[in-house]
Symmetry: C2
Subunit: 405 residues, 2 copies
Amino acid sequence: MIYHYKPIEEALKSLLQHVKLELGFAEVELDNAVGMVLAEDVYAPIDLPLFDRSAVDGYAICSGAVSSASPNNPIPLKIQFGDALNSCDEAIPVVTGQKMPIGADAVVMIEDVIRDSNTIYVTRPLSKYANVSRRGEDIKAGEKIASKGEIIKPVHVAIFSALGITRIRVFEKISIGVIATGSEVVEPTYGIRAYEEGFILDSTSILIRAALSEYRFINTKWYGIIKDDEKQIKEAVLKALNENQILVITGGTGPSDHDKTFNAVINIDKNPIIIARGLAMKPGRPTSIVVIENKPVFLLSGFPVAAYIALNVVVLNFLFKALGISDEMFVEVPALVTKKVSGSIGYDTFVRARIFRCGDELCTEPVLLHGSGVLKSLLISNALFAVPRNVEGFDRGDKIWVKIL
Amino acid sequence: MIYHYKPIEEALKSLLQHVKLELGFAEVELDNAVGMVLAEDVYAPIDLPLFDRSAVDGYAICSGAVSSASPNNPIPLKIQFGDALNSCDEAIPVVTGQKMPIGADAVVMIEDVIRDSNTIYVTRPLSKYANVSRRGEDIKAGEKIASKGEIIKPVHVAIFSALGITRIRVFEKISIGVIATGSEVVEPTYGIRAYEEGFILDSTSILIRAALSEYRFINTKWYGIIKDDEKQIKEAVLKALNENQILVITGGTGPSDHDKTFNAVINIDKNPIIIARGLAMKPGRPTSIVVIENKPVFLLSGFPVAAYIALNVVVLNFLFKALGISDEMFVEVPALVTKKVSGSIGYDTFVRARIFRCGDELCTEPVLLHGSGVLKSLLISNALFAVPRNVEGFDRGDKIWVKIL
């Protein structure tokens, strides 16, 4: 089948129309929540704080009683105990977080008073509600504190805890099967003699699996390296499709006769939906997407860098959109280009780059190592940018938006 | 004991002098390597590629034979098989990654030739080494590919794989014990009635534990919430010190009588080394550091935000330095301040902020919610910056460096 390099957005749009990812739900305890994707909006059941409370250790007082206080005019207040001031001549010791005694509207810090047996002396005025946390000032009852599709972060867990929410509903982990293909590819444990014998040690599928392992809401299942044999590939794909919701296959997507993967995949189903045979991206042109049994199968290049870029801008991009994940996949920052870089009209060109401080700006230097198999370019780069397919390139000094890896 | 607010760098410097973190080593397989800290420099054992190889599927040829090729002057080459060209009139089919046949110095892509039974026609010239990956062009034998102290990323794992390195030496996980103190603090499972009954649901220690759980090279062990009782705190601290290399305690560091934690900790040892009783930071002034039995004990505020900031700028900062971790803890980006923000002379003031695009710059808006207990400020902020202790503040329009959370 002939390539037709489809723009990435177009392919993703079509894929999202053809596939509905249906994930189950799981109730998890907060200890296991970080990194999972919230499956429902979460609202505060109560005000936080639930009442006016002291924000410090000190003495609860009437602010009006000390309005004229100064070092030359220390105001004496009698120490009382209990949950209410009888009059504004009194002060009640409070600790941080304690409910404000009735009648008190400010707290003077323990460090800021002089104490003399049963009396404290206040030497400066306090504004109303000084050192008081007001009811609901942090969070109001009914307020939405997290949304469906958010990746749960430590601060969410802290807020849920403070609100007494100890179990939350998240999406079950999504399972992604990974298959490598290629008769020439062998496991790294084979050792470097592989190269002398005409083989290549697998690094592409390992890069893909390692990158996926950074997401706690993804379960990756590995199906090994399959030879360039249509029957064997079909079997592996069927098994993996059966056990996963998404399939990623590396290698065997090229145009030559020994690239059996694409045909093996489309021949599994009577009605395969071919979303894209080739994408308008460089590197990664052979990237293809097929839907089999309502599940997306991504065919990535056998080259590690091309596969890695396609994993991010195609596979994970799809996953984030399909699950409604609101978090940005990449932090984007503005940076000055230090070296002219050419794109390729008709193709989104992804350029690995290094960003670094230059004066009070960030600069980005394209890592111009040719060859999509060049792993070192990933090692020395810490950012990625795209030259869009309708742009010829960027000149030295152009300010562009760069994604931090 | 009286506070003496020590600058953070000074405290860290002193702590690093007093404590030698001694971590064991572990050999791990690549599947378990991502996120661990490399314990040795890694050098390439071989050139990569190990020999000149084809970067595409096509035909290996002599570039000199097609220098005059054009659509009007197609150069015919006879298809041969084997690992050497007999003459420059021949072409040998090669697949991606295949060793270059002897005598060939370029590869014409399969898509770029016209084939006619035993002959291909080349219609444009190729430069020497076109579509050839040269020996060592990716990585040279002996080249350092990763350094001790690097946090292992997916791309490292891919390169190790390609080089046949399947087990690597990493630091054993560092164990950090976490204790919460405070008679008023209860587990979130207690439910929101806690507040009516004068208790507070723990969120601080949960935030600390969740934040630590994001680092795969850290093992966190939780010791529960201990009452404000010197004996009970001592017991918990002793147990936790025994079982961990670092201890983090939240709460009970304030100046009042019921804040027993600091005394409990320093009374454990005959010769406690008090690195800092208070730090020159806001929020987080009560943050204290003590060395007991050669192990650092960090006493953080009971307020979640203050504790969270101290965790990052003190505890993790120490850990990164002590382990020689070369990765940046935060990505720092330049951003324009949208609103005047005041610091506090003598204290490094940490300001939670939101960064967002504004034109072709990033802007940063300080999240000015008062109170270090205000969790929502963390929820709506995605960045953090410091107003250094010798700076009064920043004005609207100032360009500053902001750490991305």
